[in-house]
């Protein structure tokens, strides 16, 4: 998987004082559209947002808001537990899908569906399945046990777990796909040699697969954590942050403040996440632009 940008960093641009060639003039013209978009819709909003969040009073208000503390904890649970479970499953499944079988090929085509379809209808579909009165799950529980099933989304712990489940359902195929490419890049000779030496399945994983994939695995995990911070849909569409605003994560909380017309609080809550986000982003950028 090592696709490096060889020789790229060895190119310091010519000093700006030197005259630009026609090619470079075109280069600037062609770069201009993106720069405009970047200035108008990234730089300006970010600066404006930071300016809005500048008053220390905002942070005092956040500190005193129990929903914020709860959302921060939920976000940590989502990232630390949810993402690691997801990546472990993806790692296991990548081994499964790397098997050469016709039916597994077909299954992999179906397996990608959650990623290929939009999340709104599918998350809402899960939401209805969990409906305590009419959902299919409690209907089944009732018909098997004669008892009423639990009120799934009314318990914050269960509701948050379900949101994590929905997130895993949606993004597992993508990460599995990435890890499959990583796995297929390992030379087959290694496995054949190990086979001859009578290595067990675990030994093959431990001494061949894992050493070649660990960098990719860690990169994927970190990247998935950064992106999951921005996962608004899984929580908002399933629980709406409820019950009693106990299942918010930072992304839904920011939007909640926004809807309540407390824009400076919304920005402040995002600024609070930056000490965690920026090191991850820095690390990823180092890794990707190597």
């Amino acid at each position: 998987m090592a696709i490096t940008l060889s020789g790229d960093q060895a190119l310091p641009g010519p000093p700006l004082s030197s005259r630009l060639t026609p090619a470079q003039v075109w280069g600037i013209i062609l770069l201009a559209p993106y720069l405009l978009v970047f200035l108008a819709f990234v730089v300006y909003p970010v600066c404006y947002g930071l300016w809005l969040a500048r008053a220390p009073a905002n942070y005092v208000a956040l500190y005193n808001d129990p929903i914020f503390a709860r959302a921060a904890v939920n976000t940590l649970i989502f990232l630390v537990i949810g993402i690691n479970i997801k990546m472990l499953i993806a790692l296991l499944l990548s081994g499964f899908f790397a098997q050469q079988r016709t039916w597994i090929k077909w299954l992999s085509v179906i397996f990608i569906l959650p990623w290929a379809v939009p999340s709104i209808p599918t998350i809402l579909s899960v939401r209805f399945m969990l409906n305590p009165e009419w959902g299919v799950i409690n209907h089944l529980i009732f018909s098997f046990t004669g008892d009423d099933g639990p009120n799934w989304l009314n318990d914050p712990t269960v509701a948050l777990s379900m949101a994590i489940g929905v997130h895993i359902w949606k993004s597992l195929p993508f990460w599995t796909l990435i890890l499959i490419t990583g796995r297929l890049a390992i030379s087959h000779d290694l496995f054949e040699a190990a086979e001859v030496d009578g290595a067990s399945l675990w030994q093959k994983f431990r001494y061949i697969t894992w050493p070649s994939m660990q960098t990719l695995y860690v990169t994927c995990t970190l990247l998935s954590m950064i992106w999951t911070l921005g996962d608004f849909n899984s929580v908002y569409l399933l629980t709406g942050g409820g019950p009693a605003d106990l299942t918010h994560v930072l992304s839904t909380l920011g939007i909640r403040y926004l809807r309540l017309d407390q824009l400076s609080l919304a920005m402040a809550s995002i600024v609070c996440a930056m000490p965690f986000v920026l090191p991850l982003v820095y690390f990823m950028m180092k890794r990707l632009s190597r």
Partner: protein
């Protein structure tokens, strides 16, 4: 015909032990959606695994817009289509130009722009949404399709530039040099040499941008609110506003809404898997 050995059967059984749960896990929410779409309301709400009287009546209601929540179905479908197409075209234009400029023309500062783009790519989209909403208000673009189009282009282009730049770097420099020898201008190289060679990546990125825009919920629901301006996902979210939401119609509309991206994905799968996974993560 050779009988399979016991060991083969055991291996196959173990694989099935993983394969069957994976299949069920993947299909249940989708099947549930499909089930609602073909069920009359009574069947849908009674938790049946297959309706007693499967029907296409729900689709008829949606296509004839015969419900309060569906009054503007066609307009909203068209909004979604138009916005997705515009995002695809604009992203392709902006990102291809930028990638060509950075990778082939080695424009001064190109490296820095690439890093800035990469940085944007890593800002969680929901975080940028908050200031973006206010910014669009300042620009006077709220409730205007352009706000959503521009927001989605902003989100789609960093990744697009990055993937296209990677792909460009792999094209041999000799091609450009030979074209320059033949007296080609920069724009001619772009049009006649660069674009044709980049076609597979361009298809992948175009598909990526279109799907991203079509699937987007958060930005759409923040930036657009008028019933005749919103996109389909926002309309789906609005179904939940009522206490007695017509879930069977919600799922039917959702099913219709989910079909085009799934079809596009499978049609371009060959490009998507190669083009996107190669760029998504390097190690």
């Amino acid at each position: 015909m050779k009988l399979p050995s016991l060991r083969d059967v055991a291996t196959e059984a173990r694989l099935l032990l993983i394969g069957i749960p994976v299949f069920l896990w993947t299909m249940i929410p989708i099947y549930h959606m499909f089930l609602f779409a073909i069920s009359p309301k009574e069947d849908a709400f009674s938790g049946k695994l297959w309706p007693d009287h499967p029907t296409l009546h729900n689709f008829e209601i949606v296509f004839k817009q015969q419900h309060y929540f569906l009054r503007d179905f066609y307009v909203q479908f068209w909004n979604s289509t138009l916005i997705a197409a515009a995002v695809g075209v604009l992203t392709l234009f902006i990102a291809t130009a930028a990638a060509f400029s950075i990778s082939r023309l080695k424009v001064p500062g190109g490296r820095m722009v690439l890093n800035l783009a990469l940085f944007t790519y890593f800002i969680p989209a929901a975080f940028l949404a908050v200031p973006m909403y206010r910014t669009m208000g300042n620009y006077g673009l709220l409730n205007n399709h352009w706000s959503l189009i521009l927001a989605m282009v902003t989100i789609a282009s960093p990744y697009a530039i990055w993937v296209l730049k990677q792909a460009s770097d792999k094209l041999p420099v000799e091609l450009d040099e030979a074209a320059v020898m033949d007296g080609a201008t920069t724009l001619q190289i772009f049009r006649l040499v660069y674009l044709p060679l980049m076609m597979p990546s361009l298809v992948a990125i175009g598909t990526y941008a279109v799907l991203l825009a079509w699937n987007e919920y958060l930005y759409a629901f923040l930036l657009l609110s008028n019933d005749r301006e919103i996109t389909l996902p926002v309309a789906l979210g609005n179904f939940l506003a009522a206490d007695d939401s017509p879930w069977e119609l919600l799922m039917t509309t959702g099913f219709i809404y989910a079909l085009p991206p799934a079809a596009v994905y499978y049609a371009f799968r060959r490009y998507m898997v190669g083009g996107l996974t190669a760029g998504a993560v390097k190690s």
